[in-house]
């Protein structure tokens, strides 16, 4: 089970309070986790990654085990601690805007 922490606005949009737990059947990567997240909560489609291209939105970052993995290849395996559910995969809204 993969744990995912969403930023405030996406928790509100998805109607969840705390972390999200996802059953990711494939190897845990940024892409498979986000695919599973969007399959479970279709309302999040387009809010983390663009429709169609799946390009990450500019002000979204991804963290795992305290490390910014945003720029890692989307198909790289996530750390074992995230894959095993010990640590969450964090979707972070960058500090920007007014």
């Amino acid at each position: 089970m993969i744990r995912v922490v969403l930023p405030h606005h996406l928790r509100a949009l998805a109607g969840v309070d705390g972390e999200v737990s996802l059953d990711v059947r494939e190897r845990a990567t940024q892409r498979t986790v986000l695919d599973a997240l969007e399959a479970r909560y279709p309302v999040l489609r387009g809010t983390i990654r663009d429709h169609g291209t799946a390009k990450r939105r500019d002000f979204i970052r991804f963290f795992a085990c305290g490390t910014d993995i945003t720029l890692d290849p989307a198909d790289d395996p996530l750390p074992e601690a995230v894959a095993s559910g010990t640590e969450p995969f964090r979707v972070v809204a960058a500090m920007a805007g007014g």
Binding site: P7, H9, V43, T47, R57, A94, A96, G97
Partner: protein, 371 residues
């Protein structure tokens, strides 16, 4: 007894303001979708409890919300806006070509007859339509595919399609406006479009009277006379008596003919409202006085409406979609400011009261007249 519901979009959420027909005591609900930019909310004329809302942020992009119970509950619907075919390019600020990129919805216009059909005017300028209550969206690409499309250039606020007018006598005929491409009309339900900018003069352009390139800020009409259009252009207030085929300047005695909103009284098709702004450099009311100007002659002759509005030290703006009229008698007029005030006039503009003073910067105001 009839009542009025105002749908107010702000930079940090949406608010719903309701009153009975007297319009002197208002209930304020919100913020809905707190923290999100709510560019526009509008109700279906065919079912006033069916509302659509444009919700966006720089972080998470575009979301569309729908309510089926007059705003008590909301449901996110489709937010995939894909340009039809190969998107191509339009002109960028520096004159180079730039790919069309979806940024946000500026305006939602529900069908006059079908609550499930709604149009969305978006940035970069395109018109989308949903026929399933907002679940899926298809571009009416004949507009963006017009041969002049490559010449369209964004205004300072982006290349936005912000005005959609559906002709109640012939719903196949629609007028849209784009900053800074100009005005276009379809007579076949959105399949084909043509520019209708004859008579507009924009001194910012090398050719002042070119076919496209005019920074149209907003257009309004009275449904009883849909071929009479009133336009607030970047500079100049304009009028057309032939569905946009030609335009005449009707700025008359306005202290400035720069501004953003323009509206027409619900029952008096020659009564028009604008909010003059000092200039395109300053974007503040002239002399620090917030004045709505009303013409009862379809333009040219304007009177300042000041009763209840701040007449000193006022430097707010009123954006293009932030003014609306109700259908009661006497007709009400409403507008919101970038300072967060929403003003109401239940007597056609003769007197004004601030319903609320301190909302986030107001982006849009839509009045619904409820039975």
């Amino acid at each position: 007894m009839s009542s009025v519901r105002l749908l107010v979009g702000t930079k940090k959420g949406a608010f719903v303001l309701t009153s009975d027909g007297k319009r002197d005591d208002w209930k304020i609900e919100g913020p809905l979708f707190a923290g999100w930019e709510m560019y526009h909310l509008k109700g279906s004329p065919a079912d006033p409890d069916r509302l659509y809302a444009s919700q966006s942020t720089g972080w998470h992009g575009q979301v569309v919300q729908r309510s089926d119970d007059g705003g008590k509950t909301w449901e996110p619907v489709g937010n995939e806006f894909t340009y039809d075919g190969v998107p191509g390019t339009h002109q960028w600020y520096d004159g180079t070509q730039h790919p069309w990129e979806f940024a946000r919805i500026w305006h939602l216009e529900p069908s006059l007859t079908d609550p499930d059909t709604v149009y969305a005017g978006v940035e970069d300028a395109a018109l989308f339509r949903s026929t399933d209550g907002g679940m899926t969206w298809q571009e009416l690409s004949g507009l963006r595919g017009h041969p002049t499309g490559e010449q369209w250039q964004p205004g300072a606020g982006g290349l936005c399609l912000h005005t959609i007018l559906i002709n109640p006598e012939d719903p196949q005929r629609m007028v849209i406006a784009i900053s800074a491409a100009g005005t276009f009309r379809t007579d076949d339900g959105g399949e084909t479009w043509r520019p209708i900018n004859r008579g507009l003069r924009s001194r910012e352009l090398p050719d002042e009277e070119r076919e496209v390139g005019h920074c149209v800020h907003h257009i309004a009409m009275n449904p009883s006379r849909p071929d009479v259009l009133f336009m607030q252009k970047h500079w100049h207030v304009m009028r057309s008596d032939d569905g946009g085929d030609s335009w005449q300047k009707v700025s008359g005695n306005l202290p400035s003919d720069f501004g953003f909103p323009i509206e027409v009284h619900a029952h008096e098709p020659d009564t028009v409202y604008v909010v003059p702004i000092e200039s395109d450099s300053e974007h503040v009311p002239p002399e620090g006085k917030l004045r709505v100007y009303r013409s009862r002659t379809g333009g040219n002759e304007w009177e300042a409406l000041t009763n209840g509005l701040p007449q000193e030290h006022c430097y707010v703006n009123v954006l293009r979609d932030a003014m609306s009229v109700d259908g009661l008698d006497p007709g009400g007029v409403y507008f919101g400011t970038t300072g967060g005030q929403v003003y109401a006039s239940p007597d056609g503009g003769d007197s004004w009261t601030a319903i609320v003073h301190d909302l986030p910067s107001v982006l849009s105001v839509e009045a619904q007249t409820l039975p």
